[in-house]
Amino acid sequence: MIGSFKAEILKLRKRPATWVLLGVVLGLNQLFGYVFPYSSWLSGDQNFQTQGLDPQGLLAGVLPGELVPTSLGGFPVFVGALALILGALAAGSEYGWGTMQTALTQRPSRLAVHGGKLLALAASTLFIVLVTFALNATVAGVIATVESRPLDYPSLAEMAGGVGSGWLILGMWSGLGALLGFAFRGVALPVGLGVVWVLGVENLVTAVANSLLTSLRPLRDVLPGVNAGSLVWSLAPGGGSGGDAPPGVIDAVTGGRATLSLALYVAAFAAAGALLLRRRDVA
């Protein structure tokens, strides 16, 4: 499996799409996590994101103390969708280019090829989380310095918890993307269906369960995105001191249950992908 992992890492590292996705993650994270709130605080203007919020709360959200919730705010939805695209690209492209045949005729077993791919996705999503935290920590530090505020970063344990949670969320979404890539043996359909699920279906079910049909809550509480949002909520209830919780960050289940559910999803997606790859012919 080590050989497969090394091959997958080389492919992901040299693939322009990987870097484009990382750039989009970082860009959106900066935009919604720091640029909009801080510029709103500077100008005193209210925008869609900051309307009705305490200005001091806006500043607190971009300072080092709120690094974890600010960094993870976009993970349940838009960063999750981008991780799903990464997973779908990594698995589905192998069928589009016919390279699954190349991988499966070298040495590793099918399960080893699958395991190598998932490990490489796990490494890539960890890299995305770490780079996001590093950049955000730098930006928060710069803002704190400019605003003459103390550089009070979260403790190492809190940071590790935040990085671990982010990694679990992105691992789950990229695992779903890879599973869809294996299932549909391509990229377009998995990306389309996956993004519709993350951005549309989960939000609709959540909205209906929260207002119109509360009997749907048990269903809502097992959805992967809802569990991702609940995990982030558990790290900073109410969205932290920065104000309202970002879209998808929700108080639906406890942090412990959310962590367990996400871990189970990761295992289930990996097992289902392995089963598909193992049983099917590669033509």
Partner: protein, 303 residues
């Protein structure tokens, strides 16, 4: 050639897709050190058979063994180089990086990459993106990937596809060299002259069925002689006395003898002694193409 160890063996290997039988009870064997040609028209079942031998497709019936193990097992794959149908690589990577990816999967060092690129004459273009390669360059990169492990067995599906005449000549030389160095090669090709030059034995498949498997010489049949002479009747009587009545046939005003070229002198002398005017005497050989078309046309007719 002397038969030794069987590297590939199939017994009633079958693959069906719904109602379609792509490969129908194929039993073939490839021996260590031989270059085996797998012939058949388009859609005959060649590629499906090779895919089953590479472990990409699971048979629905029968069995196959490659290098003494199950097709597609890590132990088998580690000793087998495969190029099936067309080379499949990552378009955004260079040729060299594509081989590095393959080397990592195969568990061989990067130093083999340069040697493989060199072998297929791509060392100078190894840094170019694969997407920009010509068809022939892609094919050569596919062969380089198959050679990366220095495999005991090579399974090559149409390895000269897309190559220009010089590239085909080089590929033939490479395959011949591999055969001489003791590698076992199982190759499918439409280019029958190429197969006739390269292969020790051939299997002919049509409609999913293996129609024949033998050495090229056996498949072509015994060499013969073509004789044109006047008068034909006297010539036939003379030659029947010389080589036996069952070994002479008349077709299109000429006589076809089942006799080797070394008999030409005796034939000429006997006809002269019988006052027969000899106008043409030459070896009569069927080409592999003639035999192949004859067999596969019969196969089609039977279906």
């Amino acid at each position: 050639m002397a038969m030794g160890e069987q590297l590939v063996e199939t017994n009633d290997l079958t693959k069906t897709y719904g109602a379609l039988t792509a490969v129908d009870r194929v039993s073939l064997s490839v021996w260590r050190g031989e270059v085996y040609g797998f012939l058949g028209p388009n859609g005959a079942g060649k590629t499906t058979t090779l895919r089953m031998l590479a472990g990409l497709v699971r048979p629905t019936g029968g069995s196959a063994s490659v290098l003494g193990d199950q097709p597609g097992s890590p132990r088998t794959l580690a000793r087998t180089g495969v190029l099936i149908e067309a080379p499949r690589f990552y378009p955004y990577l260079s040729g060299r990086d594509n081989l590095r990816v393959v080397a990592r999967y195969a568990g061989v060092g990067d130093r083999r990459v340069e040697a493989a690129l060199d072998t297929v004459d791509l060392a100078g273009r190894g840094g170019d993106r694969y997407a920009g390669y010509s068809l022939g360059m892609k094919q050569r990169l596919g062969v380089a990937a198959a050679l990366l492990k220095d495999p005991e067995l090579l399974i090559l599906d149409e390895p000269t596809n897309g190559l220009d005449p010089a590239g085909m000549r080089d590929m033939r030389a490479l395959l011949r060299d591999l055969g001489e160095r003791g590698h076992t090669v199982l190759l499918s090709s439409h280019l029958l002259a190429e197969v006739q030059q390269l292969c020790d034995r051939v299997g002919v498949i049509s409609g999913g069925r293996l129609l024949a498997e033998s050495t090229v010489d056996d498949l072509l049949g015994q060499a013969g002689l073509l004789v044109r002479a006047e008068p034909v009747e006297r010539a036939r009587d003379t030659l029947e006395r010389l080589v036996g009545a069952g070994n002479v046939a008349v077709a299109d005003g000429s006589l076809r003898l089942r006799a080797g070229p070394e008999q030409a002198g005796r034939v000429s002398r006997a006809l002269a002694d019988a006052d027969v005017v000899l106008t043409e005497l030459r070896p009569l050989e069927r080409t592999l193409e003639e035999v192949f078309l004859e067999m596969t046309d019969n196969g089609r007719t039977e279906r």
